[in-house]
């Protein structure tokens, strides 16, 4: 029951919107919503999606690739290197332990050792997509549990390459059947000796690093300079697709390649721009992926042998949970963190689909064995988010509080808590002065030349259009204390200010106002920290003129401050007087009218003696009267 691409798209999108919004309403993770949507539209419930589910699965893997790219973007190379111990240690322990136990289980169940080995490989892997998506959604990336999960998943991404490489060695069949097998993963290197393969892999990694530095960043600068926004989206996709292609070509995991690419670009000024561009696409692709997993659950297999499926499922989850708990124990995680880790990675991951179908094509597994394992995999992916949920709702509250998320982030680049938008003449002075006090702001500017220069000078500057909330979000607006807007264009300032005020009311806004009327508009919006760029400078000039004419400097400096105060009061006073006629009076006319009003007020005021302080006239008079 399929009706072409459009129909499929409608089915997927409608399913996603319906199920995910319901899941969210119920306080569940979006992953569960997508999985349910998949089951719902899949061949066994509504039957909108049939056999093509697996094709979609392959396509949807781009979600995982993008996710790893985005995660890479957040990890600077230096920090990545610092993580090597936990990656190898935790990852090695988890994969090794799980493989050993599940191998024992399946040989005990009477499977051939080769089959048991293949299955244990598949079982050892967890789902990067589900686990990381859930962790990020909950904002737990910076906890020790988040770190541990990430390390283990990264190790699995690396080890799966070797697993795929080892599978042909286990094959019973001869070369010809292997060649005839419908193998999607035939690649450039299959016919090369191992040594060359290794070299090619190293070469491609180096290639990613070099092109990242010397090709991609200059390309992004060109794109940014062109000012066409969609080109940047195109460029972001180009990067991800190209890396995936290259990686598949040499037989590496595209996700791993994308991760590397992300790490390489994490130091570049386009970090936040790339993040905010890819983020929504990533989520959509991942959603598609989860739906495809849901749709691929083969309910016929379950119906035939419900007890076996259930038994295997429970046994595998138990083994994985046990090993994860033990790993947490060895690496001295606190109890709550250990439990989170235990349940969040207890599922079999998406790599299992690849491994199992590859093993099937190599004739290691029979159709029934593969079907059983695929069902168990899909079910485990669906069940673990629910178990995690039970853990979080009912078990953790009894143990005590969650580890504070605010602990120092040791390996994820720390977001600054002051954001400076615009780094032209005005913004640069602000930024330099802040910096001279050891306050480093995160700088956003939409001129890539500025940004390029700033980065050379060691500023943390990023290219991007700050009127987009998602860019501000990737620049860390949620954790920011203050946002300074020094943009020239009053409309842009107004846009940014009102947007931030609405979405992140805790962020204090410090605004440059171009002129009187834009200052008044900002004040009308309740933005009191508005700084007119011309006010102070013009008064300094005027007071220097008066000083040259013989006025005392100290008196002038007091008068300037008095005048500023008076002028600010006038600005607020007229704010009330105006009002409905704002709509039809043009900006220019408004400006003139205001000027007139101000001058009239000045005229009425005359030459004002602001203070009679230090004057002895009255004392003298009083003495004389005596």
């Amino acid at each position: 029951m399929t009706g072409g691409l459009l129909f499929e798209a409608i089915v997927f999108l409608a399913g996603a919107i319906l199920c995910v919004s319901i899941a969210k309403r119920l306080g569940l993770s979006s992953v569960i919503g997508y999985l349910l949507a998949g089951v719902l539209i899949g061949p066994y419930v509504l039957g909108f999606i049939g056999e093509e589910g697996s094709d979609i699965l392959h396509f949807a893997e781009f979600g995982v690739v993008m996710m790893l790219f985005l995660i890479g973007l957040e990890i600077e190379p230096k920090n990545f290197w610092n993580m090597r111990k936990s990656i190898v240690g935790m990852g090695g322990l988890q994969v090794g332990g799980t493989m050993l136990l599940s191998y024992l289980l399946f040989t005990f169940l009477g499977f051939d050792w080769k089959i048991a080995l293949v299955i244990s490989m598949a079982v050892a892997l967890s789902s990067t997509a589900i686990a990381l998506q859930t962790i990020k959604e909950k904002g737990l990336m910076e906890t020790s549990f988040g770190n541990a999960s990430f390390s283990i998943l990264l190790f699995q991404d690396i080890i799966v390459i070797f697993m795929l490489g080892a599978l042909p060695l286990l094959s019973n069949s001869n070369e010809e059947t292997l060649a005839n097998a419908p193998n999607e993963r035939v690649n450039l290197l299959d016919n090369l000796p191992i040594g060359f393969q290794t070299l090619a892999i190293i070469f491609s990694v180096v290639l990613i690093v070099i092109t990242g530095r010397y090709l991609i960043v200059p390309m992004l600068r060109k794109v940014a300079k062109s000012g066409v926004r969609e080109l940047l989206i195109a460029a972001a996709f180009l990067i991800v697709f190209a890396i995936s292609f290259l990686m598949e070509y040499v037989g590496l995991s595209p996700a791993l390649g994308a991760f590397l690419g992300g790490v390489v670009l994490s130091n570049s000024e386009f970090k936040h721009e790339l993040e905010s561009t890819l983020e929504p696409f990533k989520n959509l692709f991942l959603g598609l992926f989860f739906m495809a997993v849901g749709a691929s659950i083969n309910f016929i297999v379950i119906a035939n042998d419900p007890l076996i499926v259930l038994g295997v499922l429970l046994a595998i989850i138990a083994i994985k949970a046990l090993v994860l708990f033990f790993t947490g124990q060895v690496f001295k995680l606190k109890l709550d963190q250990k439990l989170l880790l235990t349940f969040s990675l207890a599922q079999i991951g998406e790599f299992a689909f690849v491994l199992l179908s590859f093993a099937f094509s190599l004739n290691i597994l029979t159709q029934e064995q593969m079907d059983l394992m695929l069902v168990v995999t899909a079910l485990s992916m669906s069940v673990t988010p629910i178990i995690s949920l039970i853990n979080e709702r009912f078990i953790l509250p009894k143990i005590g509080t969650l580890e504070s998320i605010e602990r120092p982030m040791d390996h994820i680049a720390k977001a600054q808590n002051i954001i400076l938008v615009g780094f032209g003449q005005f913004g640069s002075t602000v930024g330099r002065f802040l910096r001279s006090h050891g306050v480093e702001a995160t700088i956003l500017d939409n001129d890539s030349n500025h940004v390029d220069f700033l980065r050379k000078m060691g500023f943390e500057a990023y290219y991007g259009d700050a009127t987009r909330l998602d860019l501000l979000e990737s620049a860390g607006i949620a954790e920011a204390k203050m946002l300074i807007c020094t943009v020239d264009n009053p409309n842009v300032t107004k846009h940014i200010a009102s947007m931030v005020k609405e979405k992140y009311p805790h962020v204090e806004l410090m605004l440059r106002a171009k002129d009187r009327s834009s200052a008044r508009e900002l004040i009308n919006l309740g933005l009191e920290n508005t700084y007119r760029e011309t006010l102070d400078t013009s008064l300094v000039l005027a007071s220097d003129v008066l000083s040259k004419m013989g006025f005392r400097k100290y008196t002038l400096s007091r008068q300037v401050k008095n005048f500023i105060k008076y002028d600010e009061e006038m600005l607020r006073k007229f704010k009330e007087a105006k009002g409905e006629d704002d709509n039809y009076i043009s900006q220019a006319r408004k400006g003139l009218e205001q000027q007139e009003r101000v001058l009239n007020e000045d005229f009425k005021r005359g030459i004002v003696e602001y203070d009679n302080l230090w004057s002895s006239d009255e004392i003298i008079k009083a003495l004389a009267d005596k």
């Binding site: 006025f551 005392r552 400097k553 100290y554 008196t555 002038l556 400096s557 302080l613 230090w614 004057s615 002895s616 004392i619 003298i620 003495l623």
Partner: protein, 198 residues
């Protein structure tokens, strides 16, 4: 000839009647450096290094200011707080001002009669100036009695002019190296015999 530095503080100099006449008489005397602190530092942001250099280059430091609330105007206190640094003006190695001369030249609204235990101000001007005297002592300086123009509210222009000329003469004496022995018994420099004999 002694080099004289006059550090002048008056927040509203343009309104002053007495000080402006006095300043007019002394500010261009050769060998005298006249420094108007409120004009130099309208924002109270004192250039400590420049001030220290000036102090080092002079032998006699005169503080000229109106007597507000029995003390100096705030910028002068600011100047003291910032410039008279530990280890420079006082303390173990703080000998930069040693043996230099310090004196206050002040104007007061009240007459000399009200500045005594029986008068409305209860204390003498010298008593009120104790903080300056002790500051000078701490810096190893010779603190001279003040030159005071008192009762300014009721001074005529001619009287003010007279004071100004006395001030000029005092500066001349200081340039000649007026020493402590000359006025041991005087509460004010105004009273020293050299100023009285025309």
């Amino acid at each position: 000839m002694k080099r004289i530095l006059i550090l002048f503080s008056h927040p509203k100099f343009e309104k002053s009647r007495t000080n402006s006449v006095m300043v007019d008489h002394i500010k261009d005397i050769p060998g005298v450096t006249f420094r108007d602190l409120y004009e130099c530092y309208p924002d109270f942001h004192i250039d400590v290094e420049a001030e220290k250099e000036l102090l080092s280059a002079h032998d006699v430091i005169i503080w000229q200011h109106p007597f507000y609330w029995y003390s100096c105007p705030p910028i002068m206190k600011q100047w003291m707080d910032m410039v008279l640094e530990f280890g420079w003006a006082y303390g173990p190695n703080g000998v930069a001002l040693k043996n230099k001369t310090w004196l206050n030249v002040i104007t007061t609204g009240g007459a000399r009669e009200v500045y005594c235990s029986a008068g409305s101000n209860s204390y003498t001007v010298n008593e009120f100036l104790r903080p300056f005297e002790q500051s000078a002592n701490l810096c190893g300086m010779n603190y001279f009695p003040p030159f005071a123009v008192m009762g300014t509210h009721s001074l005529s222009k001619a009287e003010v002019k007279e004071y100004a000329l006395e001030y000029v003469k005092l500066i001349d004496l200081l340039q000649q190296g007026l020493s402590l022995g000359d006025f041991k018994k005087c509460a004010f420099l105004n009273d020293i015999p050299q100023l009285k004999t025309q």
